[in-house]
């Protein structure tokens, strides 16, 4: 599933005026459909009591998740959150191993040490294993970016957090520090208009998050987070800017969370008309599918094929997860220290840094 991204963003003759070659556009549609189907099915399993733990639905925000992750090269790192699991799928994580994590199995990326979207695969796909505390990965992204800058690799770190997380002190620390050192980092704020039940107006007293970049000397861009191509374009520009050594960019991607904060939350605090507006006219998956049909990039049959592939992969993933063994209870303390050797030999993982 690991892909490389075309560096070209500008429309030209070869892409018939479209921003990316057709196979790339189809791939984006695949990721959007995977994101949507995964989210719906996992919620259904959760409601049936067949899925342990928690779920954080990202429905309605897929344009942002897929758009920003698609703008990264495999060596660039992603510092995600609880709600943007599908950004990690777009970065290349294997669906079946993600699902094994949800069921607490040994084949999950974190070997059952964490659940749900608190996942990551650093050695395989350069994604940071999500931690709850918001936005705890922002300072960490500064460090990865610092390492890229020192080594002159041209790699970039991209971190995502929600609108509510921007109220936390370390969000400001990280933006400030990244700008002082001109670090190759992209800050994405996924503004789905709510932090649990709290609306934007109770989280910050400025009209937009993007304009807060000015306080740190960072350009801020506001983009329609339901428009995957717009998000991709803006993210790609920010990534290239960071790669050139021109420092961080703050991207505010605006969408709406269609579902509650987590599986248990009916989200009655979201105004009905707002939700209807977003669901009817700002559906990131439907709108992109329509665009590709209008452009003649996909046929109805192509769309059916993509959907069938997504459903097949989900079923395979589900079976794989349920068949995967649970971790050994006796291993509960292993891996506390590197010298335990617990993680040595894991697929794609090094056991430790080079011995000193």
């Amino acid at each position: 599933m690991r892909r490389t991204v075309a560096t070209k963003v500008e429309p030209d003759a070869a892409t018939a005026g479209r921003p990316l070659p057709d196979d790339r556009l189809k791939e984006i549609l695949y990721f959007l459909k995977l994101a949507r189907y995964f989210d719906e099915r996992m919620e259904a399993l959760y409601r049936q009591g067949r899925l342990p733990g928690a779920i954080y639905s990202g429905r309605g925000q897929e344009g942002t998740h897929v758009g920003v992750a698609y703008a990264l090269e495999p060596e660039d790192s992603l510092f995600p959150t609880h709600r943007d699991l599908t950004a990690q799928l777009t970065k290349g994580l294997e669906l079946k191993r993600v699902m094994a994590q949800f069921w607490g199995r040994i084949d999950g990326y974190l070997r059952g040490r964490d659940g749900n979207s608190h996942i990551g695969d650093w050695y395989g796909h350069r994604t940071y294993a999500v931690m709850s505390h918001l936005p705890i990965a922002y300072p960490v992204a500064c460090g990865a970016a610092l390492a890229y800058q020192r080594a002159g690799t041209g790699h970039v770190a991209l971190a995502i957090c929600g609108d509510g997380a921007t109220s936390n002190g370390r969000w400001h620390e990280a933006l400030n520090t990244s700008s002082v050192f001109r670090l190759p980092v992209v800050w994405v704020v996924n503004n789905n208009q709510f932090a649990y039940s709290t609306p934007n107006a109770k989280e910050f007293a400025v009209p937009t998050i993007a304009e807060r970049g000015a306080a740190y000397g960072i350009p801020g861009v506001r983009v329609d987070g339901t428009d995957v191509l717009e998000v991709y374009r803006v993210a790609r520009e920010a990534v290239e800017r960071a790669r050139r050594g021109d420092g961080p960019t703050l991207i505010e991607a605006v969408s709406l969370r269609w579902r509650g904060h987590a599986g248990h939350d009916p989200a009655k605090y979201v105004p009905r008309e707002l939700l209807e507006h977003y669901m009817l006219s700002k559906d990131p998956v439907k709108n992109f599918e329509q665009y590709l049909k209008d452009q003649g990039v996909v046929t109805e049959e192509d769309v059916t094929d993509i959907q069938a592939r997504v459903e097949r992969e989900f079923e395979e993933g589900h079976e794989y997860a349920l068949a995967s063994p649970f971790p050994e209870p006796g291993d509960v303390t292993k891996g506390w220290w590197v010298e335990d050797g617990y993680w040595v030999g894991e697929p794609g993982r090094a056991g430790g840094t080079e011995a000193s």
């Binding site: 790192s77 990326y109 974190l110 070997r111 040490r113 964490d114 990551g120 650093w122 050695y123 940071y128 294993a129 931690m131 505390h133 705890i136 990965a137 922002y138 300072p139 960490v140 992204a141 500064c142 460090g143 990865a144 970016a145 610092l146 390492a147 890229y148 020192r150 080594a151 770190a157 002190g169 370390r170 620390e173 990280a174 400030n176 520090t177 002082v180 891996g335 506390w336 220290w337 590197v338 010298e339 617990y342 993680w343 894991e346 993982r349 430790g352 840094t353 000193s356």
Partner: protein, 348 residues
């Protein structure tokens, strides 16, 4: 070991230049720490330092004075006053193969980066298998009239988090050897320097670049037969002084210097208790749930049959470190307190 009474700087925090080894080749604790940093920076290009005022200024205590001239501003990195970011940035850099050593101006300010320490640094490897060779270091401890926000012994907070090896050395050689081991270790570590010791204690310290002290191993600093004093940090020096007076009264105290407080070297502690059958646990972190609480529990649990007396703890009360000299003296365990506690134990 030679104990030298040097009054600290005007603020009590010691801002005079770092200086060098004496002509006799002895190094203060502070110089030993600087040597450890210097040697490891020379040895391994992946090692770099970050912190507040450590570059041009050379650090609040001048530990890193002169480093920027040798290693440059990239490897001796002055940061904004942003402790969450200093820790988080160290984590991210370690994930990408660097070996950061972060200086905190005072160990007190580690708590401004608490979440990144106790949530990320401590738990990341267990959860996700990515080693984080990060060292957090800074001056801790009281006794220099620096009051509540510049005197803390924070080791229990971070020992409780787990996943971070915590060292509190008392002597220049141990400081040098342990810091070098910490920088080479693939796990996170916290190296708590004691500011009271910085310029007071000096001794002959190895100049061998491969001189290391193993992490997690305690050391008997004085052999004795009547009572074991299990301690670490500045309290080791108080215990040594007390033991001289005790010896004159015919009471023989054995002093076990933990050196590393987490993980704990239970074996050395228990071996000493088997020998003396009496334990005084002396520590500078708070009495309630301080490091000594765990030491006392280990002794009670694993050496019960060797004990001739109840385990005794001597430690400061759980109040902020006070400023006024009589208050701070009352707060910290004093030599007379140690003698009295040992006498009581020896009477069993």
């Amino acid at each position: 070991m030679a104990t030298q009474q040097v009054e600290a700087g005007a603020a009590g925090h010691g801002a005079e230049p770092r200086g060098k080894r004496g002509e006799d080749g002895q190094a203060t604790y502070l110089i030993a720490i600087a040597e450890a940093l210097w040697e490891e920076m020379e040895r391994d290009e992946r090692v770099f330092m970050l912190g507040e005022d450590i570059g041009v200024y050379g650090g609040a205590f001048k530990v890193t004075e002169g480093f920027i001239d040798r290693f440059g501003p990239e490897r001796v990195m002055d940061t904004p006053i942003a402790e969450e970011t200093i820790v988080g940035m160290s984590v991210g850099a370690a994930m990408e193969g660097l070996r950061p050593v972060a200086e905190f101006q005072y160990a007190d300010f580690m708590s401004s980066g608490f979440d990144e320490i106790t949530t990320v640094l401590s738990r990341y490897h267990y959860r996700a298998g990515v080693p984080l060779p990060v060292v957090l270091r800074g001056p801790s401890g009281g006794g220099v009239r620096a009051s509540s926000f510049h005197s803390i012994n924070p080791e229990p907070w971070y020992a409780y988090a787990g996943g971070i090896k915590i060292m509190c050395p008392a002597f220049p050689s141990d400081a040098k050897g342990l810091l070098k081991s910490a920088i080479r270790d693939d796990n996170p570590s916290m190296f708590l320097e004691h500011k009271w010791i910085y310029r007071r204690i000096k001794e002959q310290v190895s100049e061998d670049p491969e001189f290391l002290v193993p992490i997690g191993s305690a050391d008997v600093k004085r052999e004795g037969s009547d009572v074991s004093i299990i301690t670490y940090g500045a309290m080791v020096h108080k215990a040594l002084e007390a033991s001289e007076a005790l010896a004159q009264r015919g009471v023989s105290a054995e002093i076990v210097d933990l050196r590393t407080v987490y993980p704990l070297d239970e074996e050395t502690i228990l071996r000493s208790i088997e020998k003396t059958s009496r334990a005084l646990v002396l520590y500078e972190s708070y009495r309630f749930l301080g490091i000594g609480t765990e030491v006392a529990a280990v002794i009670a649990e694993k050496a019960f049959e060797h004990l001739d007396a109840p385990v005794v703890r001597l430690a400061p009360p759980n109040v902020p470190v006070p400023f006024s000299p009589p208050l701070e003296d009352a707060f910290l365990p004093q030599i007379a307190d140690i003698e009295a506690a040992v006498d009581r134990l020896a009477g069993w």
